[in-house]
Each structure stands twice: as structure tokens, then as C-alpha cells.
């Protein structure tokens, strides 16, 4: 737990002070006690007295005060916040190596199955789009709430040749911002890389710590980027828009020699780049070396996307707790002693 105004925590020192004051007041009260001839009769009539109960309302009140004082320091805590709506782009590598059959029935088919399972699990408030990338990237399905359309989009994926992770990301960003007034992110990025003036206004970088969590990209790849632009060059586009990229790597970094339709192909998974992409955009990297892994990764992602841990100010909770405690203290006091402490 952290505090926005930790200086105010010093106020909490008032609580022990008040406890001391309370004890002192009790003593004082004893000093000003009613002198009475003999308590023998009173004791007999008293039965069991208020005893410890008389300390309960003041104690509750003190606790309430404690929480109020802590609340003035504006406590923050990491809370799991469900993200009910947003946009998820599934960017899927459809390069030739995806035909490899080290995953059953093939990398392509396993990825499709996992992606479909992922789509099924998403809530109704999530728009899903499909982007396929090889030598170039294309939007297979613009983000939509219609899961059948998405599933059909996944089915349409066919293995192609090269691998352009950078373009995949840009196409995904385009898909997210499709229909907005903004210049498509890919146009802006390519213009910037070519050294040309960027048409339209560049989005201002978001302030530190603030993130738009409503959109994210899930990028699946099994190879190395071998096309312009390099993914590192265009990541700013995603970061500035507050979009996280979760990356899923299929295969291993050592590289495997695969037989694809009778030909021998050597592929290497560029794990470092995928990790970097995830890290820079505040996403996460997963590795899948078999079909179960892949499915697990997507399932894991489901919860990751739907719930996010966010730093939230919980002052309201503290104040509410303090209010409840005060009310309970007053109620008990009224109930037991017919007065408010």
C-alpha cells in the first residue's frame, strides 16, 4: 500500500495521544467520583455491571478516527479491476514456418484453435479484430463484437511466406483506430521513418503511469522479423497510444529444422524481440512449445485482459470504514448507555 500524501500519516500519531487522553480522563473521572456511604447495596443491585462494555464505543470511535486519519494520506493499493470492455487485436503470424507440424496438427492449426478458444471466452463487451502478417500485414477482420465473424476470420488465415512483425503491429494499431479521425498509425509511422513530415497531429505521449487499458494486441509469431520496418522502430506508436502488446512466441530460440511440405526449413524464434515488445508496451511475453502450451497461454491471457491490476486510491474505502465504525460506536453507546460517547 502506498500513499499519495504520506506526510499526513504523522497525524496517526494523534491516536495514541487520544488513547492516553482517554485513560487520563478515566482516571480523572475516578477522582471526581461520587462519594457514597457504602457501595455494598449498590454492588448487590448491580449484578454484573457494564464492565468492559463501556470501553467498546470509545475504542470503536478511536478506530474510526484512525482510519479517517489514514484516509487523509490518500492510500493507494493495487486492486484487481475487471476490464469489461475494450478492443483486443489478435495479430497472428501466418508465415510459411507456421505450417510446421511440430505442434499438432500444425502450428497454424494449433494457433487458430487456441485463438478461437480465446475468442469464445471473451465477454460480450470485448471487440476482437484479426490481423494476419507475413511479408505484409492485413486486417483480416476489423474489431467487432460479433464472435462468429471473428471465428470466420480466424478460419480464413492461410500460411504465407515472410514475417513482418513490425507491420503486424502497425496493422493492429490501424485496426484499433479504424473509424477514428486520426491519421492511421501505420501512415504516421512510415512517414516518420521515411523522414517525411507526419501528416496530421502526432498523438501526445501519455503521461507517465497513465494507460488506456481499453485496447491491447495479442501478437503470435514463430519467427524473426525479416521485413521493414523493424518492430522496435514503430513501438512508440503503440506506447504513445497506451496500447499493450502481449506477445506469444511459438517454437524455441535455438531454432528448429522443420520439414514443411517435404522441404527442410530452418526457423528461429526471435524471443528477444518479442520480449522487448512486451516489455516496452507494458504487456507480457509467453512462450508456447506445444499445442497445450499455446492453449494455456491464450487462456491465461483471457484473465489478463479481462482483469487488470491497477493502482487505485482507496481513500473512499477507508472513509467508509471510519463512517461505519462511528455509526456502530454511536449505536452501541445509545443502546447500552443511552448516550453518544
Amino acid at each position: 500500500m502506498t500513499f499519495l500524501w504520506p506526510g499526513n500519516l504523522f497525524l496517526v500519531l494523534l491516536v495514541p495521544l487520544l488513547v492516553a487522553a482517554y485513560v487520563w480522563a478515566q482516571r480523572r473521572r475516578h477522582r471526581y467520583a461520587l462519594r457514597y456511604a457504602s457501595l455494598s447495596l449498590v454492588r448487590e443491585a448491580l449484578g454484573r455491571g457494564p464492565g468492559w462494555r463501556r470501553h467498546v464505543p470509545p475504542a470503536l470511535l478511536l478506530a474510526a478516527l484512525f482510519f479517517m486519519l489514514v484516509a487523509t494520506a490518500r492510500p493507494q493499493t493495487v486492486v484487481t479491476v475487471p476490464v469489461q470492455e475494450g478492443t483486443v487485436i489478435l495479430a497472428i503470424d501466418v508465415s510459411g514456418s507456421m505450417q510446421a507440424e511440430d505442434l499438432r496438427p500444425s502450428r497454424m492449426e494449433a494457433a487458430k484453435a487456441a485463438a478461437k478458444a480465446f475468442v469464445e471466452k471473451q465477454g460480450p463487451g470485448v471487440r476482437i479484430g484479426i490481423v494476419a502478417f507475413t511479408g505484409d500485414a492485413q486486417i483480416v477482420q476489423t474489431p467487432t463484437f460479433d464472435k462468429d465473424l471473428v471465428a470466420a476470420g480466424i478460419d480464413r488465415l492461410r500460411p504465407q511466406r515472410a514475417t513482418a512483425i513490425g507491420r503486424g503491429i502497425l496493422a493492429s494499431l490501424d485496426a484499433i483506430f479504424e473509424g477514428s479521425e486520426e491519421v492511421p498509425p501505420s501512415v504516421a509511422a512510415l512517414a516518420r521513418l521515411a523522414g517525411e513530415p507526419v501528416p496530421g497531429a502526432t498523438p501526445q505521449p501519455l503521461p507517465q503511469g497513465v494507460r488506456d487499458t481499453s485496447a491491447s494486441i495479442v501478437l503470435l509469431s514463430d519467427g524473426q522479423n525479416n521485413q521493414f520496418p523493424a518492430p522496435q522502430q514503430i513501438l512508440d506508436e503503440a506506447v504513445n497510444r497506451g496500447i499493450r502488446i502481449y506477445t506469444v512466441g511459438v517454437g524455441s530460440a535455438e531454432g528448429t529444422v522443420l520439414r514443411i511440405q517435404g522441404r527442410t526449413v530452418r526457423t528461429r524464434l526471435d524471443e528477444a524481440t518479442l520480449k522487448q515488445i512486451a516489455e516496452i508496451t507494458d504487456g507480457q511475453y509467453f512462450n508456447a512449445s506445444n499445442a497445450e502450451d499455446l492453449r494455456a497461454v491464450y487462456e491465461n491471457l483471457t484473465t489478463q485482459l479481462v482483469f487488470r491490476n491497477e493502482k487505485t486510491e482507496v481513500t473512499a474505502l477507508f472513509t467508509a470504514l471510519a463512517a461505519i465504525l462511528s455509526v456502530v460506536a454511536a449505536a452501541l453507546s445509545l443502546l447500552w448507555f443511552q448516550r453518544i460517547p
Binding site: 456511604a37 457504602s38 449498590v42 443491585a45 448491580l46 455491571g49 457494564p50
Partner: protein, 237 residues
Amino acid sequence: MREYHEDREITAQFLLDVSPSVDFGTANALKRDLLIDFVAVLARLLTRQGNRVGAMLYGRGVERVIPARGGRMQVLRLIDDLERRPRLERAPETSLRELLATAITTVRRRSLLFVVSDFFSTPGWEPALTLLGRRHEVLAIRLTDPRERELPDIGMVVMNDAETGEHLWVDTSDARFRTRFAEVVRRRDAALAAAFARARVEALELSTEDDLVRTIVRYAAGRKVRNARRAAAGAVR
């Protein structure tokens, strides 16, 4: 013509409980003031007819024994002694038995004994009173205060025992407590009356809210009636 005066001098002893519980009073005076007034009135009355008066004072224990003597000076000395006694802050609970036992061993001649106390005491004094009552004429003077009968309704208070200093939190507004307290007071009145009756001792209650002289006069009148009745009953028998 000769006039005969009955010239049988009486010795009267005041057994006085001046423990801290007697330093309490909420109406017109403290119970202790009442006690002093009572002693003054009775001692003056008795010495005027040439009787002798003495006293025993109980504070933390039997603290002072003033031998019986006659005369105005004796009365003044007695009152002065009582007035001068400092108010005790703390004391062990009063043990009336101790006071009564002292009287049993020290008062040898048949005397008139006034036991003046609020009768807030450790138990076990009744047999001693009975024993005293056999030998002497004993009058139990019970000092009371209206606040001992009924507590004011003032919510939560800390009450402090005048003798032991014990503190007790009391919710004087609690209806159940009030009824229980009234019941306890009633039981105590009944128990004291029964104890005096068993010891065959006459009892008189002096309250801080009543007028002392009027109470004594009323008592004397009642006593005359009771004696007459007793005599009549004896004649019938």
C-alpha cells in the same frame, strides 16, 4: 412538707460510629453532623438531671473511649472531641462487632447505651448486640440519608465507596438496576429491623432530611404508648 426526688443516677454511654461512611449526607447535613447533634441533645438532657455520660468512638477501629462523667464540662468536651475529629479518607470497612465487643468488656455497670451508626458494617455484629441488650438498656440509632434509599437518575457515574475507596461504574438510569436497588434497600431495612427485634433492642431512625428534635420527640411519645401498651398487656396476663 417534703419533696422526694427520685435520685437514681443513670450512666449513659454513646457508642459512636464515626467511620467514613458516616461522613456522607446529601439532605440538610452529613450523617456525622446528625450524630453530633444527637449526642449533644441527649448528653445535655441526661447531664442536666445529674446523670453521667461517656462515649466510645469508632473510626478505623475503636479509637477513643471517654469514661462516663457528669456535668456540663463533660458534654462540652465530648462535643468538642467529636467536632475536632478529622474526616477520614480511607478506612477498613466498619466492624460494628468490634465496637460492641469493646462495650461488652468495658461497660460493667448497667447503663443506657446508644449505638449510633449507619449500620453499614461487616456482618457478625448481631450476637454482640443481643449480648449487650441483655445487660444494658440499648437504643439503636440508625443514621440514614435519602440518597441511600434512592439514587438520583443521572446516567453513568463512577461511585466511590467512602470507606474502601472502591470505584464502581453505575448506570443510574438503568431501569432494571433501579428496581433491583429498591428491592435491595427494602430487604436491608427488613433485615435490620429483624436484627434489632431479635436482639430486643429499641431502634430509632434518624434521617439527614428530618428534624432531629422532632424525631426524638415523636419517638419518645411512641415509646410512652408502647410502654403503656406493654404494661397493659402485662396486666391482662
